[in-house]
Amino acid sequence: MIEQFLFAVFAVLACGGAIAVAATQNVVRMALWLVVSLGSVAALFFLLHADFLGAAQLLIYVGGTVVLLVFGVMLTASGPTVQIKTSPAEGFLGAGVGLLLLSVLMFSVRSVSWIDLESRVKSRNLSQNVADAIAGQLADVSEDFASHESDPALRSSARESREILVARSQAGRTVRQLGMAFYGLRPDRDLNHAPGSRLAPGYLLPFEIVSVHLLVVLVGAAYLARAKRRVDAGITEDL
């Protein structure tokens, strides 16, 4: 009951903040509304027990991006940049993109079979003891799973119950699972037990490559920012 209430509050805040961002014309006020909207999204993540995702949302978007936005505005704060006036063409374009996004979202919402998901959603009403009990059941189901090696029907049902049980026992404990998934260990997806498949591919290497790219961008930006001064210094030396 209280979860639904909090969900409603934060969902309204997230949407209202987003609308206010679009409706305001002052950039700094936009940033304030952006904080409201992004912070509410983080709160929704916390409500869904995705602590890591919520913290990342706070750190990257609210603490990083918005601060940089305001910082940029302060450096350039004069005249036309503080007040943003959109032309009708821009409004039309923005509305078109928004409607397209909305239709994609509606499409994906309709393509999910919600009845199947209901059983998983129930896993939220769990206490620690129930979670422990489920961990016990999970071990049993794993044994079942191993014993049904030959029968595909029993096997798929066992896999399904196993996935649900794993999802239940992990409510709120996403950090270790995220770390494991980086190494390619996905106990919830059962990728490692499927016949003929090897260990699922991890995300560690792509992640590292992306982060090194970011570092390269940072160094490049620093170099570009310094280059002008060096040229000036060279010219004055020549003179």
Binding site: R29, H49, D51, G64, V66, V67, R124, S127, G172
Partner: protein, 432 residues
Amino acid sequence: MHGPLASLTIQQFLADRLASLGSYELVALVVFLLAGLVHATFLISLFAVLPMVYIWLERKVAGRIQDRLGPTRVGGKFGWLQTLADGIKLIQKEDLIPASADSMIFRASPYLAAVASFAAFMVLPISDGWVGVASECGAFLILAILSLEVFGIILAGYSSGSKWALFGAMREAAQMVSYEIPMAICALVPLVIAGSLNLQVVGRMQSGGFWNWFIFHDPFAFFAFFCYFTVATASVKRAPFDLAEAESELVAGFHTEYSGFRWSIFFLAEYASMFAVSGVAVLLFLGGWDTGLCFPETLLSGIRGWGEDFPVRGFVLGGYLINLFGAKVFIVKASLLVLVQIWVRWTLPRLRIDQVMTTCLKYLVPISCVLFLGAVLWPLILASSDLRRPVLFGSPLGAHASLAPVSNGLVARQVNPEDVSGIAGNAGRMAR
């Protein structure tokens, strides 16, 4: 509240008591609200009382360092009620908003800063199992929350419509954006040693003697503590890094236009975040709620489990007293670090803005990277020698850590799966 830290929360405790009183939904709601109220009251009183003490301490220490007496009149010989008198004065002052200010942001920004500072208290474990919101990634969460306070400061400076305030805010933004990097890297050093982002796990692994504290774990962790503390001082904009205020250059920096209650909210937030970053330092490096000495710890373990079910069923008096003592130890340790911050403020001159940026980008970032690399390589180098200590995913370092499940005030009891304990996700998890 998760995994090895399984213990009873206030909410579960109340749910256990009240389960027979009414319908499931109603009792669940009442229990949730009651537990939330208990947590909020405790944290808000901590959030309000600690800055009061620190502001008095700041004035006293400043006075002593400058060969004065500091406050002496209000509240007896040592002037210990001076902060309260100041607070009453500040509330009575007129609330001024400049004509050129953006009044909505101007009014909102002190509360943004204070809320961010208060949110850090929610994930900070005060004692073994005493935490407002027990999160599996508490360390990451608290670093994320601590980076939000800057937002209130920047908006305050921007919306004031004053050049001094704008300069202060710009300096603060530049400083915070760069100092977050070494802060996170330095905090990673003990987290790598612990192998967990859960602050309670990190605290427990350091129990059983000061040689188990992560600051003494390896030379890199030792230097990482000093690096972290320097960066933390900068991140709460304390001298010598208080460029955002810089009284001698910018009048009062970002809060030039503020007065009265809103101004005092900024100071509440500043002193509260001083405690928060010091608390994180204590948890990550200095053993958390552990005294670090053999004698008090053995004495305490004697009363562990003593007085079970004493006032009410499910409550262990001995464990509660141990946790109370642990909370005191934690607060005293963090307050000592705050005292160091105050001492540094009144003895070191303020850096220039270019010196602040140089210190961070040219010195602290490379130093913290080297320390992190060294801390990661250290166990590998020592793996073959006798100096090796259990490092990653091993059993807890501390001797008392094995007694952990008993050490909580409440013994975990079987809760009926059908009963009330389900609703609350993250709110209401202060385990006792």
